[in-house]
């Protein structure tokens, strides 16, 4: 049952707290004189209310705000969006948009070894906000702050977008014949592509973070993912610049093989689980 429908005229969190015995002590005042009881559960409110008449919703509100994850401001916006307030989403977007783009960008940057497409980040944030507006009831203020919820949604969209873009690039490369050259170079891209076709981008990043703990290796993987072929880029990342060129190439190949092997294992472990 929707908690908000239990007691007419009061935000649901008041009623949620009212029915807890520990809060039933007559120390609060209810300012709403027209409180209606809509179902049997809330019959408990009637005797408490009638006997004491001294509940204080502000105190209950303070207690509740310590329990929920959203801030008061976020909560107020959320309630207005749910209620169909025609300007609530516009105000919310104005308030949060830039912050969300910045926060999602830094999240993406910290998890992908520095490379981040901010245009794509902004698009993902827009997508997350518009999806929230389409279905605001999917957001639960008790589970996460709105900011966190939206950044997570945007980051998920971002990962899906880069994975889609990467697959598209790969398909084009195959069509133009570049794929044939790729096949001869064991740099882990095949493993990546195979893995990506089986799991979502979000799952993939979670597994990569778990399976490839070394941040340098993760950055090597990002270069591979972006189709970087130049050995010197890898050599710089791996700190091999001082070595002779042929030795650099050997070491780079070793690193790529190592990552390919790990990706293969990740894929196998994933297949075992499903």
């Amino acid at each position: 049952m929707d908690r908000r429908s239990r007691v007419d005229g009061l935000p649901y969190f008041y009623t949620e707290l009212d029915i807890q015995p520990s809060l039933a002590a007559p120390v609060f005042r209810v300012p709403n004189e027209e409180l209606k009881v809509l179902d049997h559960t809330h019959a408990i409110l009637v005797p408490i209310y009638c006997r004491t008449s001294i509940f204080c919703l502000e105190k209950l509100y303070e207690r509740y705000t310590r329990l929920v994850k959203s801030t008061q401001e976020e909560y107020a916006f959320h309630e207005r969006v749910l209620a169909g307030d025609p300007v609530a989403f516009s105000q919310l977007a104005e308030w949060l948009y830039s912050d969300l783009v910045r926060e999602t960008g830094s999240r993406a940057r910290s998890r992908s070894g520095g490379r981040v497409d901010m245009d794509l980040v902004e698009e993902s944030v827009g997508q997350a906000l518009l999806e929230y507006n389409d279905q605001p009831q999917r957001y639960d203020p008790e589970q996460a702050s709105m900011r966190t919820y939206l950044v997570m949604a945007a980051y998920r969209d971002y990962l899906n977008a880069i994975s889609k873009e990467w697959r598209h690039t790969q398909r084009q490369a195959t069509l133009t014949g570049e794929g044939m050259i790729d096949l001869e170079i064991p740099d882990g891209r095949q493993e990546l592509e195979e893995l990506l076709t089986r799991i979502s981008a979000e799952e993939w990043w979670a597994r990569v973070e778990e399976g490839i703990s070394d941040p340098i290796d993760r950055q090597v993987m990002v270069l591979v993912m972006n189709g970087v072929r130049a050995t010197d880029r890898y050599a710089r990342l791996l700190g091999l610049q001082t070595l002779p060129v042929d030795e650099q190439a050997r070491e780079v190949k070793k690193a790529k093989d190592r990552i390919a092997k790990r990706l293969r294992r990740l894929g196998e472990a994933y297949d075992d689980r499903i």
Binding site: D85, P86, S90, Q91, A93, E94, Y97, M118, V125, N133
Partner: protein
């Protein structure tokens, strides 16, 4: 490194695919009237910068909420309420002619007829005074 600057306009453009938001109606109206952003802002008596703010507002509900919603949206976006109401009705009429259901799933022409009084209250020409409405629109191009 320069800091990336997010633009609310981009979000507003993305929102044009959402029938529940004003952005979709603004796009229809602009296409129908052959207006660019500056001309639309002129028509609505607002700055161009106010357009994204307007675009992200929820589309006004039908009567009996229509008038109140229009006034709330106009106050928030700094636009002229009667022009805004005219834009909404014109865009809805375009939608109806194209055969697309409006957000409420009701015929826009029927809604337009139903809201005649509401529109009249905020100084908007109703279908009974079509010529005046056309003239006013033309005046503001």
């Amino acid at each position: 490194m320069t800091e990336y600057k997010a633009s609310l306009k981009r979000l507003a453009d993305m929102a044009s695919a959402r029938p529940s938001l004003m952005s979709s109606l603004m796009l229809l109206y602009r296409e129908q009237e052959g207006m660019d952003d500056e001309q639309l802002a002129d028509f609505l008596n607002c700055d161009v910068e106010a357009l994204p703010r307007l675009a992200l507002c929820r589309r006004p509900r039908q009567a009996p909420h229509f008038r109140g919603d229009i006034e709330t949206i106009a106050a928030h976006s700094g636009t002229d309420a009667s022009r805004l109401a005219r834009l909404v009705r014109a865009a809805e009429a375009v939608q109806a002619m194209r055969g697309a259901p409006n957000h409420a799933g009701t015929s826009s022409l029927l809604m337009a007829a139903r809201d005649r009084e509401d529109l009249g209250d905020i100084g908007v020409d109703t279908p009974n005074s079509n010529e005046g409405s056309k003239d006013n629109l033309d005046d503001n191009r």
